[in-house]
Amino acid sequence: MTASKKLSPVLSATWDQDDSFTIDGYTRNKGYTALKKALKMQPDEVIQLIKDSGLRGRGGAGFPTGNKWGFIPQNDGKEHYLVVNADESEPGTCKDVPLMMANPHVLVEGVIIASYAIRANHAFIYVRGEVVHVVRRLQQAIADAYEAGHLGKNIKKSGFDLELTLHVGAGAYICGEETALLDSLEGFRGQPRLRPPFPAIAGLYAKPTVVNNVESISSVPTIVNNGAEWFGSMGTEKSKGFTLYSLSGHVANPGQFEAPLGITLRELLELAGGVRAGHELKFWTPGGSSTPIFTAEHLDVPLDYEGVSAAGSMLGTKALQIFDETTCVVRAALRWSEFYKHESCGKCTPCREGTWWLVQMLKDLEAGKGTEADLEKLLDVCDNIAGRSFCALADGAVAPIISSLKHFRSEYIAHQTNGGCPFDPVASTIFEKASV
Protein backbone atom coordinates (compact mmCIF):
# COMPACT_ATOMS: atom_id res chain seq x y z
CA MET A 1 0.00 0.00 0.00
CA THR A 2 1.37 3.41 -0.89
CA ALA A 3 1.83 5.86 1.94
CA SER A 4 -0.87 8.23 0.69
CA LYS A 5 -3.49 5.47 0.83
CA LYS A 6 -2.64 4.92 4.48
CA LEU A 7 -3.71 8.43 5.41
CA SER A 8 -6.90 8.41 7.47
CA PRO A 9 -8.06 11.95 8.20
CA VAL A 10 -10.67 11.79 10.96
CA LEU A 11 -9.84 14.55 13.42
CA SER A 12 -8.37 16.65 10.62
CA ALA A 13 -11.08 15.77 8.07
CA THR A 14 -12.77 19.18 8.17
CA TRP A 15 -9.79 21.48 8.62
CA ASP A 16 -9.98 22.64 4.99
CA GLN A 17 -13.44 24.14 5.53
CA ASP A 18 -13.43 27.88 6.18
CA ASP A 19 -15.87 27.61 9.07
CA SER A 20 -14.76 24.28 10.54
CA PHE A 21 -14.24 25.94 13.92
CA THR A 22 -17.76 27.37 14.23
CA ILE A 23 -20.71 25.62 15.83
CA ASP A 24 -22.59 25.81 12.51
CA GLY A 25 -19.71 24.20 10.65
CA TYR A 26 -19.30 21.54 13.29
CA THR A 27 -23.01 20.74 13.42
CA ARG A 28 -23.14 20.51 9.62
CA ASN A 29 -20.30 17.98 9.87
CA LYS A 30 -22.47 15.83 12.18
CA GLY A 31 -21.08 17.41 15.31
CA TYR A 32 -22.81 16.79 18.65
CA THR A 33 -24.56 13.68 17.31
CA ALA A 34 -22.24 11.47 19.39
CA LEU A 35 -23.28 13.41 22.49
CA LYS A 36 -26.93 12.58 21.84
CA LYS A 37 -26.04 8.93 21.46
CA ALA A 38 -23.81 8.83 24.54
CA LEU A 39 -26.42 10.45 26.77
CA LYS A 40 -28.77 7.55 25.94
CA MET A 41 -26.15 5.05 27.13
CA GLN A 42 -25.31 4.29 30.75
CA PRO A 43 -22.09 6.03 31.86
CA ASP A 44 -20.44 2.63 32.46
CA GLU A 45 -21.33 1.59 28.93
CA VAL A 46 -19.47 4.63 27.61
CA ILE A 47 -16.42 3.71 29.69
CA GLN A 48 -16.60 0.14 28.40
CA LEU A 49 -16.86 1.37 24.81
CA ILE A 50 -13.68 3.42 25.16
CA LYS A 51 -11.93 0.49 26.87
CA ASP A 52 -13.00 -1.81 24.03
CA SER A 53 -11.78 0.64 21.39
CA GLY A 54 -8.23 0.37 22.68
CA LEU A 55 -7.76 4.17 22.64
CA ARG A 56 -4.52 5.07 24.39
CA GLY A 57 -3.46 8.47 25.67
CA ARG A 58 -2.17 10.69 22.88
CA GLY A 59 -0.26 13.04 25.18
CA GLY A 60 2.83 10.87 25.26
CA ALA A 61 2.48 8.14 27.86
CA GLY A 62 0.03 5.95 25.94
CA PHE A 63 -2.00 4.83 28.95
CA PRO A 64 -5.36 3.26 27.96
CA THR A 65 -7.94 6.05 28.17
CA GLY A 66 -10.89 3.84 29.14
CA ASN A 67 -8.92 2.28 32.00
CA LYS A 68 -8.08 5.75 33.31
CA TRP A 69 -11.78 6.55 33.36
CA GLY A 70 -12.51 3.23 35.04
CA PHE A 71 -10.21 4.06 37.96
CA ILE A 72 -12.55 6.80 39.17
CA PRO A 73 -14.36 5.41 42.23
CA GLN A 74 -18.12 5.59 41.72
CA ASN A 75 -20.83 6.34 44.28
CA ASP A 76 -18.21 7.80 46.58
CA GLY A 77 -20.25 10.91 47.28
CA LYS A 78 -17.40 13.14 46.06
CA GLU A 79 -17.20 15.61 43.21
CA HIS A 80 -15.35 14.24 40.19
CA TYR A 81 -13.42 16.35 37.72
CA LEU A 82 -12.28 16.03 34.13
CA VAL A 83 -9.27 18.12 33.21
CA VAL A 84 -8.07 18.36 29.62
CA ASN A 85 -4.35 18.83 29.24
CA ALA A 86 -4.11 21.40 26.43
CA ASP A 87 -0.75 22.71 27.56
CA GLU A 88 1.03 21.35 24.47
CA SER A 89 4.64 22.44 25.03
CA GLU A 90 6.89 19.46 24.35
CA PRO A 91 9.46 20.71 21.82
CA GLY A 92 8.44 19.53 18.35
CA THR A 93 4.82 18.92 19.32
CA CYS A 94 2.30 20.86 17.26
CA LYS A 95 -0.87 18.81 16.86
CA ASP A 96 -3.25 19.91 19.63
CA VAL A 97 -2.88 23.60 18.84
CA PRO A 98 -3.99 23.29 15.18
CA LEU A 99 -6.72 20.84 16.26
CA MET A 100 -8.17 23.33 18.75
CA MET A 101 -7.83 26.19 16.29
CA ALA A 102 -9.60 24.35 13.46
CA ASN A 103 -12.11 22.32 15.44
CA PRO A 104 -12.55 23.32 19.08
CA HIS A 105 -16.05 21.82 19.19
CA VAL A 106 -14.86 18.24 18.78
CA LEU A 107 -12.89 18.75 21.98
CA VAL A 108 -15.89 20.28 23.73
CA GLU A 109 -18.11 17.38 22.64
CA GLY A 110 -15.49 14.89 23.84
CA VAL A 111 -15.32 16.69 27.17
CA ILE A 112 -19.07 16.42 27.67
CA ILE A 113 -19.13 12.70 26.83
CA ALA A 114 -16.10 11.92 29.01
CA SER A 115 -17.50 13.93 31.92
CA TYR A 116 -20.80 12.07 31.62
CA ALA A 117 -18.94 8.75 31.68
CA ILE A 118 -16.91 9.51 34.80
CA ARG A 119 -19.79 11.41 36.48
CA ALA A 120 -18.07 14.76 36.58
CA ASN A 121 -20.18 17.91 36.75
CA HIS A 122 -17.31 20.34 36.28
CA ALA A 123 -14.63 20.04 33.62
CA PHE A 124 -11.65 22.21 32.80
CA ILE A 125 -9.57 22.76 29.70
CA TYR A 126 -6.09 23.88 30.72
CA VAL A 127 -4.70 25.54 27.59
CA ARG A 128 -1.24 27.05 27.37
CA GLY A 129 -1.28 30.84 27.43
CA GLU A 130 1.02 31.52 24.49
CA VAL A 131 -1.59 30.87 21.81
CA VAL A 132 -4.15 33.69 22.00
CA HIS A 133 -6.07 32.77 18.88
CA VAL A 134 -6.59 29.22 20.12
CA VAL A 135 -7.88 30.70 23.38
CA ARG A 136 -10.36 32.82 21.38
CA ARG A 137 -11.60 29.80 19.43
CA LEU A 138 -12.07 27.74 22.61
CA GLN A 139 -13.85 30.61 24.40
CA GLN A 140 -16.25 31.02 21.51
CA ALA A 141 -16.85 27.28 21.17
CA ILE A 142 -17.65 26.93 24.87
CA ALA A 143 -19.97 29.96 24.80
CA ASP A 144 -21.77 28.61 21.73
CA ALA A 145 -22.07 25.14 23.27
CA TYR A 146 -23.74 26.65 26.34
CA GLU A 147 -26.04 28.64 24.09
CA ALA A 148 -27.01 25.50 22.18
CA GLY A 149 -27.77 23.62 25.39
CA HIS A 150 -24.83 21.23 25.07
CA LEU A 151 -23.42 22.54 28.35
CA GLY A 152 -25.06 23.73 31.54
CA LYS A 153 -28.00 22.27 33.45
CA ASN A 154 -29.95 19.20 32.34
CA ILE A 155 -28.14 18.78 29.03
CA LYS A 156 -30.56 17.62 26.32
CA LYS A 157 -33.07 16.75 29.07
CA SER A 158 -30.80 13.94 30.26
CA GLY A 159 -30.62 15.18 33.81
CA PHE A 160 -26.86 15.56 33.39
CA ASP A 161 -25.31 18.91 34.39
CA LEU A 162 -21.89 20.09 33.28
CA GLU A 163 -19.94 23.31 33.72
CA LEU A 164 -16.88 23.74 31.49
CA THR A 165 -14.21 26.27 32.44
CA LEU A 166 -11.38 27.33 30.19
CA HIS A 167 -8.23 27.91 32.21
CA VAL A 168 -5.37 29.70 30.49
CA GLY A 169 -1.79 28.96 31.53
CA ALA A 170 1.05 31.43 31.65
CA GLY A 171 4.17 29.87 30.20
CA ALA A 172 5.50 26.86 32.06
CA TYR A 173 6.38 23.63 30.25
CA ILE A 174 6.12 21.71 33.51
CA CYS A 175 2.37 22.32 33.63
CA GLY A 176 2.03 19.73 30.88
CA GLU A 177 2.89 17.19 33.59
CA GLU A 178 -0.50 16.19 34.94
CA THR A 179 0.06 16.74 38.66
CA ALA A 180 1.91 20.03 38.10
CA LEU A 181 -1.04 21.03 35.92
CA LEU A 182 -3.41 20.29 38.80
CA ASP A 183 -1.34 22.36 41.24
CA SER A 184 -1.32 25.18 38.72
CA LEU A 185 -5.09 24.92 38.26
CA GLU A 186 -5.50 25.10 42.03
CA GLY A 187 -3.63 28.41 41.96
CA PHE A 188 -0.15 27.36 43.00
CA ARG A 189 3.25 27.26 41.31
CA GLY A 190 3.10 24.36 38.87
CA GLN A 191 5.15 21.68 40.59
CA PRO A 192 4.61 17.93 40.28
CA ARG A 193 3.17 15.92 43.15
CA LEU A 194 4.41 12.69 44.63
CA ARG A 195 2.35 9.72 43.47
CA PRO A 196 0.52 7.76 44.82
CA PRO A 197 -2.09 8.96 45.37
CA PHE A 198 -2.82 9.22 41.66
CA PRO A 199 -5.22 11.86 40.33
CA ALA A 200 -7.94 9.21 39.93
CA ILE A 201 -8.07 9.07 43.73
CA ALA A 202 -6.86 12.52 44.78
CA GLY A 203 -6.56 14.93 41.87
CA LEU A 204 -7.99 18.43 41.55
CA TYR A 205 -8.89 19.73 45.04
CA ALA A 206 -7.97 16.22 46.24
CA LYS A 207 -11.04 14.80 44.44
CA PRO A 208 -11.11 11.95 41.90
CA THR A 209 -9.90 13.44 38.62
CA VAL A 210 -9.21 12.28 35.09
CA VAL A 211 -6.54 14.20 33.17
CA ASN A 212 -6.59 13.51 29.42
CA ASN A 213 -4.80 14.98 26.41
CA VAL A 214 -6.68 17.06 23.80
CA GLU A 215 -6.27 14.51 21.01
CA SER A 216 -7.44 11.63 23.25
CA ILE A 217 -10.63 13.43 24.28
CA SER A 218 -11.24 14.65 20.72
CA SER A 219 -11.12 11.03 19.53
CA VAL A 220 -14.04 10.08 21.79
CA PRO A 221 -17.01 11.44 19.77
CA THR A 222 -15.98 9.55 16.65
CA ILE A 223 -15.58 6.31 18.62
CA VAL A 224 -19.07 6.78 20.07
CA ASN A 225 -20.47 7.34 16.58
CA ASN A 226 -18.58 4.65 14.69
CA GLY A 227 -17.96 2.03 17.35
CA ALA A 228 -15.01 0.38 19.03
CA GLU A 229 -14.63 -2.15 16.22
CA TRP A 230 -14.24 0.57 13.60
CA PHE A 231 -11.56 2.29 15.69
CA GLY A 232 -9.79 -1.00 16.39
CA SER A 233 -9.74 -1.87 12.69
CA MET A 234 -7.04 0.77 12.30
CA GLY A 235 -3.58 0.67 13.80
CA THR A 236 -1.67 -2.29 15.17
CA GLU A 237 -2.44 -5.03 17.67
CA LYS A 238 -1.77 -3.02 20.82
CA SER A 239 -1.81 0.48 19.36
CA LYS A 240 -5.28 0.96 17.94
CA GLY A 241 -6.72 3.71 15.84
CA PHE A 242 -5.54 6.77 13.96
CA THR A 243 -3.40 9.60 15.22
CA LEU A 244 -1.80 12.88 14.20
CA TYR A 245 1.85 12.66 13.17
CA SER A 246 3.60 16.04 13.00
CA LEU A 247 6.57 16.37 10.65
CA SER A 248 8.78 19.39 11.02
CA GLY A 249 12.30 20.50 10.24
CA HIS A 250 14.39 19.69 7.18
CA VAL A 251 11.65 18.16 5.05
CA ALA A 252 10.34 19.50 1.75
CA ASN A 253 6.77 19.92 3.04
CA PRO A 254 6.32 19.88 6.81
CA GLY A 255 2.84 19.37 8.23
CA GLN A 256 0.26 17.20 9.96
CA PHE A 257 -0.44 13.69 8.73
CA GLU A 258 -3.27 11.70 10.29
CA ALA A 259 -2.66 8.01 9.83
CA PRO A 260 -3.18 4.69 11.60
CA LEU A 261 -0.66 3.93 14.32
CA GLY A 262 2.24 1.92 12.97
CA ILE A 263 3.10 3.97 9.87
CA THR A 264 6.86 4.47 9.42
CA LEU A 265 8.99 7.57 8.99
CA ARG A 266 9.95 6.31 5.53
CA GLU A 267 6.28 6.47 4.55
CA LEU A 268 5.68 9.80 6.24
CA LEU A 269 8.73 11.29 4.54
CA GLU A 270 7.33 10.20 1.21
CA LEU A 271 4.20 12.24 2.00
CA ALA A 272 6.25 15.22 3.11
CA GLY A 273 8.22 15.22 -0.14
CA GLY A 274 11.32 13.77 1.48
CA VAL A 275 14.20 15.42 3.25
CA ARG A 276 14.82 18.89 1.75
CA ALA A 277 16.40 18.76 -1.70
CA GLY A 278 20.09 17.95 -1.86
CA HIS A 279 20.30 16.80 1.73
CA GLU A 280 20.01 13.59 3.70
CA LEU A 281 18.47 12.52 6.99
CA LYS A 282 20.85 12.69 9.94
CA PHE A 283 18.75 12.35 13.10
CA TRP A 284 15.14 12.72 14.22
CA THR A 285 12.95 12.59 17.28
CA PRO A 286 10.03 10.17 17.15
CA GLY A 287 7.92 12.04 19.70
CA GLY A 288 9.35 15.32 20.88
CA SER A 289 12.67 16.26 22.44
CA SER A 290 12.15 14.02 25.47
CA THR A 291 12.26 10.88 23.34
CA PRO A 292 15.74 9.50 22.48
CA ILE A 293 16.77 10.46 18.95
CA PHE A 294 16.79 8.05 16.03
CA THR A 295 18.85 8.01 12.84
CA ALA A 296 18.40 6.81 9.24
CA GLU A 297 18.70 3.24 10.46
CA HIS A 298 15.30 3.64 12.14
CA LEU A 299 13.35 4.68 9.02
CA ASP A 300 11.28 1.50 9.04
CA VAL A 301 10.45 1.34 12.73
CA PRO A 302 6.64 1.09 13.07
CA LEU A 303 5.56 4.29 14.79
CA ASP A 304 3.33 2.75 17.43
CA TYR A 305 3.86 2.49 21.18
CA GLU A 306 5.50 -0.95 21.05
CA GLY A 307 7.55 -0.50 17.89
CA VAL A 308 9.26 2.70 18.95
CA SER A 309 9.89 1.45 22.44
CA ALA A 310 11.42 -1.81 21.14
CA ALA A 311 13.81 0.30 19.05
CA GLY A 312 14.96 2.18 22.14
CA SER A 313 12.90 5.35 22.19
CA MET A 314 9.28 6.36 22.85
CA LEU A 315 6.35 7.23 20.61
CA GLY A 316 5.67 10.26 22.82
CA THR A 317 3.61 12.92 21.07
CA LYS A 318 4.47 11.69 17.56
CA ALA A 319 6.36 14.92 16.96
CA LEU A 320 8.84 13.96 14.27
CA GLN A 321 11.51 16.63 14.11
CA ILE A 322 13.76 15.97 11.13
CA PHE A 323 17.35 17.20 10.99
CA ASP A 324 19.63 16.82 7.98
CA GLU A 325 23.42 16.45 7.75
CA THR A 326 24.02 20.19 8.10
CA THR A 327 22.84 20.10 11.73
CA CYS A 328 25.31 19.81 14.58
CA VAL A 329 24.00 17.23 17.04
CA VAL A 330 25.96 18.79 19.92
CA ARG A 331 24.31 22.14 19.27
CA ALA A 332 20.92 20.43 19.21
CA ALA A 333 21.59 18.61 22.49
CA LEU A 334 22.87 21.80 24.13
CA ARG A 335 19.82 23.80 23.06
CA TRP A 336 17.43 21.17 24.35
CA SER A 337 19.41 21.04 27.60
CA GLU A 338 19.04 24.80 27.97
CA PHE A 339 15.30 24.29 27.55
CA TYR A 340 15.10 21.66 30.31
CA LYS A 341 17.25 23.78 32.62
CA HIS A 342 14.92 26.74 32.00
CA GLU A 343 11.79 24.65 32.53
CA SER A 344 12.90 22.57 35.52
CA CYS A 345 10.47 23.64 38.25
CA GLY A 346 13.16 23.44 40.92
CA LYS A 347 11.37 21.05 43.23
CA CYS A 348 13.76 18.09 42.97
CA THR A 349 17.48 18.67 43.50
CA PRO A 350 18.81 16.20 40.89
CA CYS A 351 16.81 17.91 38.14
CA ARG A 352 17.27 21.51 39.31
CA GLU A 353 21.04 21.26 39.83
CA GLY A 354 21.70 18.52 37.29
CA THR A 355 20.18 20.28 34.30
CA TRP A 356 22.32 23.33 35.18
CA TRP A 357 25.48 21.23 35.12
CA LEU A 358 24.46 19.53 31.86
CA VAL A 359 24.27 22.94 30.18
CA GLN A 360 27.70 23.99 31.53
CA MET A 361 29.33 20.81 30.31
CA LEU A 362 27.66 20.87 26.90
CA LYS A 363 28.62 24.51 26.40
CA ASP A 364 32.27 23.58 26.92
CA LEU A 365 31.96 20.56 24.66
CA GLU A 366 30.34 22.60 21.90
CA ALA A 367 33.07 25.23 22.18
CA GLY A 368 35.70 22.53 21.77
CA LYS A 369 36.90 22.95 25.33
CA GLY A 370 35.84 19.52 26.54
CA THR A 371 37.82 16.31 26.74
CA GLU A 372 36.86 12.72 26.08
CA ALA A 373 36.75 12.16 29.84
CA ASP A 374 34.04 14.82 30.00
CA LEU A 375 31.81 12.58 27.93
CA GLU A 376 31.94 9.94 30.66
CA LYS A 377 31.28 12.61 33.26
CA LEU A 378 28.33 13.83 31.21
CA LEU A 379 26.84 10.34 31.17
CA ASP A 380 27.50 10.00 34.88
CA VAL A 381 25.60 13.23 35.59
CA CYS A 382 22.77 11.94 33.38
CA ASP A 383 22.67 8.75 35.45
CA ASN A 384 22.28 10.81 38.58
CA ILE A 385 19.37 12.80 37.16
CA ALA A 386 17.21 10.24 35.37
CA GLY A 387 14.68 8.46 37.54
CA ARG A 388 15.58 10.48 40.61
CA SER A 389 12.89 13.12 40.46
CA PHE A 390 9.14 13.35 41.03
CA CYS A 391 8.30 13.64 37.34
CA ALA A 392 9.61 12.74 33.91
CA LEU A 393 11.10 16.13 33.02
CA ALA A 394 14.49 14.95 34.23
CA ASP A 395 14.24 11.75 32.18
CA GLY A 396 13.40 13.88 29.16
CA ALA A 397 16.37 16.15 29.82
CA VAL A 398 18.89 13.34 29.54
CA ALA A 399 17.27 11.62 26.54
CA PRO A 400 18.79 13.82 23.81
CA ILE A 401 22.21 13.72 25.46
CA ILE A 402 22.46 9.97 26.03
CA SER A 403 21.00 9.13 22.62
CA SER A 404 23.13 11.63 20.69
CA LEU A 405 26.25 10.33 22.41
CA LYS A 406 25.24 6.80 21.51
CA HIS A 407 24.80 7.59 17.81
CA PHE A 408 27.28 10.45 17.29
CA ARG A 409 30.08 10.09 19.84
CA SER A 410 32.67 10.89 17.19
CA GLU A 411 30.97 14.22 16.52
CA TYR A 412 31.40 15.24 20.15
CA ILE A 413 35.10 14.35 19.87
CA ALA A 414 35.40 16.25 16.57
CA HIS A 415 34.48 19.45 18.44
CA GLN A 416 37.49 18.91 20.64
CA THR A 417 39.94 18.09 17.85
CA ASN A 418 38.58 20.94 15.76
CA GLY A 419 38.81 23.41 18.64
CA GLY A 420 35.13 24.31 18.19
CA CYS A 421 32.01 23.41 16.26
CA PRO A 422 32.89 22.09 12.79
CA PHE A 423 29.45 23.00 11.40
CA ASP A 424 28.27 26.15 9.66
CA PRO A 425 24.95 27.18 11.29
CA VAL A 426 23.97 29.11 8.16
CA ALA A 427 23.90 25.89 6.15
CA SER A 428 21.16 24.45 8.33
CA THR A 429 18.83 27.45 8.05
CA ILE A 430 16.10 27.44 5.46
CA PHE A 431 17.25 30.78 4.07
CA GLU A 432 19.35 30.47 0.95
CA LYS A 433 21.82 33.12 2.00
CA ALA A 434 23.02 34.48 5.31
CA SER A 435 22.15 37.98 4.09
CA VAL A 436 18.37 37.47 4.06
Binding site: W15, D18, H167, G169, T327, R335, P425
Partner: protein
Protein backbone atom coordinates in the same frame (compact mmCIF):
# COMPACT_ATOMS: atom_id res chain seq x y z
CA UNK B 1 -3.36 53.13 40.87
CA UNK B 2 -6.78 52.29 42.14
CA UNK B 3 -8.97 49.76 40.37
CA UNK B 4 -12.31 50.96 39.02
CA UNK B 5 -15.62 49.46 40.07
CA UNK B 6 -15.91 47.80 36.67
CA UNK B 7 -12.51 46.22 37.05
CA UNK B 8 -13.38 44.92 40.51
CA UNK B 9 -16.63 43.48 39.11
CA UNK B 10 -14.66 41.72 36.37
CA UNK B 11 -12.35 40.26 39.00
CA UNK B 12 -15.35 38.93 40.89
CA UNK B 13 -16.73 37.32 37.73
CA UNK B 14 -13.35 35.65 37.10
CA UNK B 15 -13.32 34.29 40.65
CA UNK B 16 -16.86 32.96 40.21
CA UNK B 17 -15.72 30.59 37.43
CA UNK B 18 -14.01 28.30 39.91
CA UNK B 19 -15.18 25.99 42.69
CA UNK B 20 -12.39 27.39 44.87
CA UNK B 21 -11.33 30.98 44.56
CA UNK B 22 -7.57 30.47 44.74
CA UNK B 23 -7.83 28.87 41.26
CA UNK B 24 -8.59 32.33 39.88
CA UNK B 25 -5.07 33.58 40.59
CA UNK B 26 -3.76 32.98 37.05
CA UNK B 27 -6.59 34.70 35.12
CA UNK B 28 -6.46 37.54 37.65
CA UNK B 29 -2.75 38.02 36.94
CA UNK B 30 -3.50 38.08 33.19
CA UNK B 31 -6.23 40.62 33.96
CA UNK B 32 -3.83 42.88 35.88
CA UNK B 33 -1.50 42.73 32.85
CA UNK B 34 -4.38 43.79 30.62
CA UNK B 35 -4.74 46.94 32.70
CA UNK B 36 -1.13 47.83 33.48
CA UNK B 37 0.87 45.87 30.93
CA UNK B 38 2.68 43.98 33.67
CA UNK B 39 2.10 42.63 37.16
CA UNK B 40 2.19 45.71 39.36
CA UNK B 41 2.62 45.73 43.15
CA UNK B 42 -0.92 47.18 43.35
CA UNK B 43 -2.19 44.28 41.26
CA UNK B 44 -0.53 41.77 43.57
CA UNK B 45 -2.12 43.47 46.58
CA UNK B 46 -5.57 43.51 45.05
CA UNK B 47 -5.40 39.84 44.05
CA UNK B 48 -4.16 38.91 47.53
CA UNK B 49 -7.04 40.83 49.07
CA UNK B 50 -9.61 39.25 46.77
CA UNK B 51 -8.35 35.70 47.29
CA UNK B 52 -7.52 36.13 50.98
CA UNK B 53 -3.86 35.30 50.44
CA UNK B 54 -0.62 36.92 51.56
CA UNK B 55 0.98 39.12 48.88
CA UNK B 56 4.00 36.81 49.05
CA UNK B 57 1.80 33.90 47.97
CA UNK B 58 0.60 35.80 44.92
CA UNK B 59 4.14 36.94 44.08
CA UNK B 60 5.35 33.35 44.39
CA UNK B 61 2.87 32.28 41.72
CA UNK B 62 3.44 35.32 39.51
CA UNK B 63 7.21 34.83 39.37
CA UNK B 64 6.92 31.14 38.50
CA UNK B 65 5.30 31.71 35.10
CA UNK B 66 7.22 33.42 32.30
CA UNK B 67 4.21 35.16 30.74
CA UNK B 68 3.78 37.33 33.83
CA UNK B 69 6.13 40.30 33.56
CA UNK B 70 7.50 42.24 36.50
CA UNK B 71 8.27 45.31 34.40
CA UNK B 72 6.52 46.90 31.42
CA UNK B 73 6.98 45.21 28.03
CA UNK B 74 6.39 46.81 24.64
CA UNK B 75 3.01 47.43 23.08
CA UNK B 76 4.18 44.66 20.76
CA UNK B 77 6.03 41.91 22.58
CA UNK B 78 8.07 39.92 20.07
CA UNK B 79 9.04 36.35 20.96
CA UNK B 80 11.53 34.58 18.74
CA UNK B 81 11.49 30.80 19.09
CA UNK B 82 15.04 29.62 19.74
CA UNK B 83 14.25 26.09 20.81
CA UNK B 84 16.32 23.57 18.84
CA UNK B 85 14.23 23.08 15.71
CA UNK B 86 13.36 26.74 15.10
CA UNK B 87 16.90 27.80 16.08
CA UNK B 88 18.46 25.45 13.55
CA UNK B 89 15.99 26.42 10.81
CA UNK B 90 16.80 30.10 11.28
CA UNK B 91 15.51 31.25 14.68
CA UNK B 92 19.03 31.99 15.90
CA UNK B 93 19.73 34.10 12.81
CA UNK B 94 16.41 35.91 13.25
CA UNK B 95 17.08 36.68 16.90
CA UNK B 96 20.61 37.92 16.17
CA UNK B 97 19.36 40.12 13.36
CA UNK B 98 16.43 41.67 15.24
CA UNK B 99 18.34 42.28 18.46
CA UNK B 100 21.01 44.12 16.50
CA UNK B 101 18.43 45.98 14.43
CA UNK B 102 16.56 47.26 17.50
CA UNK B 103 19.60 47.64 19.72
CA UNK B 104 17.90 45.81 22.58
CA UNK B 105 18.50 42.41 24.15
CA UNK B 106 16.41 39.63 25.68
CA UNK B 107 13.65 40.99 27.97
CA UNK B 108 14.37 44.57 26.90
CA UNK B 109 12.07 47.23 25.40
CA UNK B 110 12.76 49.95 22.84
CA UNK B 111 12.94 53.46 24.30
CA UNK B 112 9.64 54.42 22.61
CA UNK B 113 7.94 51.58 24.51
CA UNK B 114 6.69 50.03 21.28
CA UNK B 115 8.61 46.76 20.95
CA UNK B 116 10.14 44.34 23.42
CA UNK B 117 12.06 41.14 22.72
CA UNK B 118 12.09 37.70 24.27
CA UNK B 119 13.83 34.45 23.43
CA UNK B 120 10.96 31.97 23.69
CA UNK B 121 10.69 28.18 23.87
CA UNK B 122 8.73 25.90 21.57
CA UNK B 123 5.34 27.39 20.73
CA UNK B 124 3.68 24.34 19.15
CA UNK B 125 3.97 25.45 15.53
CA UNK B 126 7.07 23.51 14.44
CA UNK B 127 5.65 22.77 10.99
CA UNK B 128 5.71 26.56 10.44
CA UNK B 129 9.34 27.05 11.57
CA UNK B 130 10.97 29.48 12.09
CA UNK B 131 8.21 30.88 14.27
CA UNK B 132 7.88 34.33 15.84
CA UNK B 133 5.08 35.27 18.24
CA UNK B 134 3.90 38.85 18.67
CA UNK B 135 1.64 39.33 21.67
CA UNK B 136 1.26 35.53 21.47
CA UNK B 137 -0.13 35.56 17.92
CA UNK B 138 1.44 33.35 15.24
CA UNK B 139 3.82 34.79 12.68
CA UNK B 140 4.77 31.70 10.68
CA UNK B 141 7.74 30.94 8.41
CA UNK B 142 9.74 34.03 9.29
CA UNK B 143 13.08 35.29 7.97
CA UNK B 144 15.48 37.86 9.45
CA UNK B 145 14.19 40.40 6.89
CA UNK B 146 10.50 39.73 7.58
CA UNK B 147 11.02 40.21 11.31
CA UNK B 148 13.02 43.42 10.86
CA UNK B 149 10.17 44.71 8.68
CA UNK B 150 7.64 43.54 11.26
CA UNK B 151 9.23 45.41 14.16
CA UNK B 152 9.73 48.54 12.03
CA UNK B 153 6.05 48.50 11.08
CA UNK B 154 5.04 47.89 14.70
CA UNK B 155 7.09 50.88 15.85
CA UNK B 156 5.41 52.98 13.17
CA UNK B 157 2.03 51.89 14.55
CA UNK B 158 1.17 49.72 11.58
CA UNK B 159 2.06 46.09 12.41
CA UNK B 160 1.17 43.33 9.91
CA UNK B 161 -1.61 40.84 10.67
CA UNK B 162 -0.71 37.49 12.22
CA UNK B 163 -0.47 34.51 9.84
CA UNK B 164 -3.10 32.56 11.77
CA UNK B 165 -5.09 35.00 13.86
CA UNK B 166 -7.24 38.11 13.71
CA UNK B 167 -7.19 40.54 10.79
CA UNK B 168 -5.31 43.13 12.80
CA UNK B 169 -2.67 42.62 15.43
CA UNK B 170 -3.95 43.52 18.90
CA UNK B 171 -1.79 45.08 21.58
CA UNK B 172 -0.16 43.30 24.49
CA UNK B 173 -2.76 44.66 26.92
CA UNK B 174 -5.68 43.76 24.66
CA UNK B 175 -4.47 40.19 24.25
CA UNK B 176 -3.83 39.89 27.99
CA UNK B 177 -7.55 40.52 28.50
CA UNK B 178 -8.35 37.58 26.20
CA UNK B 179 -6.03 35.39 28.28
CA UNK B 180 -7.95 36.52 31.37
CA UNK B 181 -11.04 35.07 29.74
CA UNK B 182 -12.60 38.28 28.42
CA UNK B 183 -13.75 37.72 24.85
CA UNK B 184 -12.81 40.30 22.21
CA UNK B 185 -15.21 38.77 19.69
CA UNK B 186 -12.48 38.02 17.16
CA UNK B 187 -12.62 34.19 17.23
CA UNK B 188 -14.28 34.20 13.81
CA UNK B 189 -11.42 36.01 12.10
CA UNK B 190 -8.51 34.23 10.48
CA UNK B 191 -8.06 30.86 8.82
CA UNK B 192 -9.30 27.54 10.16
CA UNK B 193 -5.87 26.07 9.58
CA UNK B 194 -2.66 26.94 7.79
CA UNK B 195 -1.45 24.95 4.78
CA UNK B 196 0.94 22.61 6.67
CA UNK B 197 -1.88 21.67 9.08
CA UNK B 198 -3.99 20.60 6.08
CA UNK B 199 -1.26 18.85 4.10
CA UNK B 200 -2.11 15.26 5.07
CA UNK B 201 -5.80 15.91 4.39
CA UNK B 202 -5.02 17.45 1.02
CA UNK B 203 -2.85 14.51 -0.09
CA UNK B 204 -5.46 11.98 1.00
CA UNK B 205 -8.13 13.78 -1.06
CA UNK B 206 -5.92 14.00 -4.17
CA UNK B 207 -5.36 10.25 -4.16
CA UNK B 208 -9.03 9.37 -4.05
Amino acid sequence: MAFTDDQIATMDSIIARYPRKRSAIMPLLHFVQSISGYVTPEGIEKIAEKLELATAEVTAVSTFYTQYKNKPVGEYHVGVCVNTLCAVMGGDAIYESVTEHLGIGNHETTSDGKVSLERIECNAACDYAPVVMVNWEFFDNQTPQSVRDLVDAARAGNPPAPTRGPKTLRTWKQNSAVLAGISDGLAGEGVSAGEPSKLGLKISKEKK
